[in-house]
């Protein structure tokens, strides 16, 4: 298993300003972060290199994130990638239903502090 500080993280977030903040938080911890804005770009990024952790906004523009996760779950190598859902809908998501999509943690955008995001990444690796 890799030491957590060299983890490769793919961040899928369509709000560029929020993505900037999250990327900065993660990079200060030593993580290597790639950021894409939508599900199609995420598929292409995963084709290039499978990340150690995937962080996704649950309400992406364009193709839904569940379609992306459904696709990832259908391949053995990508099905193993732990997913963290970062969302404003945390209070209406049922984590047991999302496990089928590889989602291991849910982070509430409305209440999270920077340390919560780092803790979530460390908890899934």
């Amino acid at each position: 298993m890799k030491p957590t500080d060299s983890l490769n993280i793919l961040l899928v977030e369509d709000d560029a300003w929020l993505a900037d903040v999250q990327k900065s938080i993660l990079e200060k911890e030593g993580f290597v972060v790639r950021r894409v804005a939508h599900a199609t770009a995420a598929m292409m990024a995963i084709d290039e290199a499978i990340p150690d952790v995937l962080i996704v906004d649950m309400l992406l523009a364009g193709t839904t994130v569940l379609a992306l996760l459904h696709e990832l779950q259908s391949h053995p190598d990508t099905a193993r990638v732990p997913v963290i859902a970062c969302t404003n809908l945390a209070d209406s998501l049922k984590s047991e239903r999302l496990e089928h999509y590889g989602i291991r943690r849910i982070v509430d955008k409305a209440t999270m502090r920077p340390a919560d995001l780092i803790a979530a990444v460390r908890s899934v690796r």
Partner: protein, 231 residues
């Protein structure tokens, strides 16, 4: 375009949650930032995000007053409104590495509308387009006369991510299988469109959307002014 049936209070709370959550995260980032240029950029982003949230609260309060207040309709040339929106939202778009412009028409069009409500509709569509349009692209406001229907259409065109036909078909198939309703703008509760429709109704007009493979055009149609025929 049908009403989503969503409770307006819930929808308003949902719509406001995103900018408020973003402002909170930007404030956290500001707290730990020492570089003056980065601090200023974060402050600018907090300011622009709060303005965007405030525009939504203005729309909500205006919609609540629709039944009580009289919104006078008058013949007007919407070009000036479009130019004002471009000037107002230009800095916000530039801060997001996008731009917005109005496509000038050689022959002016007159329609019957309330200046304030029409402005709110087009601002709403432009805000929506900002979220969806790709970095480096330009959102365009444009006008068309639909003479057979006696209406003028004002559209706001955004440019979304282009995908190959194969990938598109594959994703559409999977999206249909996903246990979630598919919307063109899934991050939205639809409140903005609901408000825009109410504003259009108050002016005896309608709103609609045309989807393109690389984006969408949200539009409002309003009656053309009879004065046009005198020109």
């Amino acid at each position: 375009m049908e009403s989503s049936g969503v409770n307006p209070v819930t929808a308003a709370a949902h719509e406001l949650k995103a900018p408020l959550a973003l402002m909170r995260q930007l404030a956290f980032a500001l707290e730990g930032e020492e570089d003056p240029a980065t601090r200023q950029r974060l402050i600018d982003r907090i300011s622009l995000t709060s303005e965007r949230a405030l525009r939504l609260t203005t729309d909500i309060t205006k919609a609540a007053r629709l039944e009580d207040a009289l919104f006078a309709l008058e013949p007007l040339n919407p070009e000036q409104i479009c130019r004002e929106i471009v000037a107002e939202l230009g800095p916000l778009f530039a801060a997001h590495d996008r731009s917005i412009r109005y496509e000038h028409r050689r022959n002016p069009l007159l329609l019957v509308a309330n200046r304030d409500l029409l402005r709110r509709i087009l601002t709403n569509f432009s805000d929506n387009a900002l979220h969806y349009t790709a970095p480096g692209t330009t959102v365009r406001l444009h006008m068309t006369s639909l003479k057979s229907k006696g209406v003028v259409r004002i559209g706001v065109r955004d440019i979304g991510p282009a995908v190959s036909a194969d990938v598109w078909r594959s994703l559409q198939k999977k999206a249909v299988m996903a246990p979630q309703a598919i919307h063109a703008r899934p991050q939205s509760s639809g409140l903005g469109l609901l408000l825009a429709r109410q504003f259009a109704d108050a002016m005896h007009g309608r709103i609609g959307v045309t989807r393109h493979r690389d984006g969408a055009t949200f539009y409002v149609e309003l009656h053309a002014s009879e004065q046009l025929r005198l020109w």
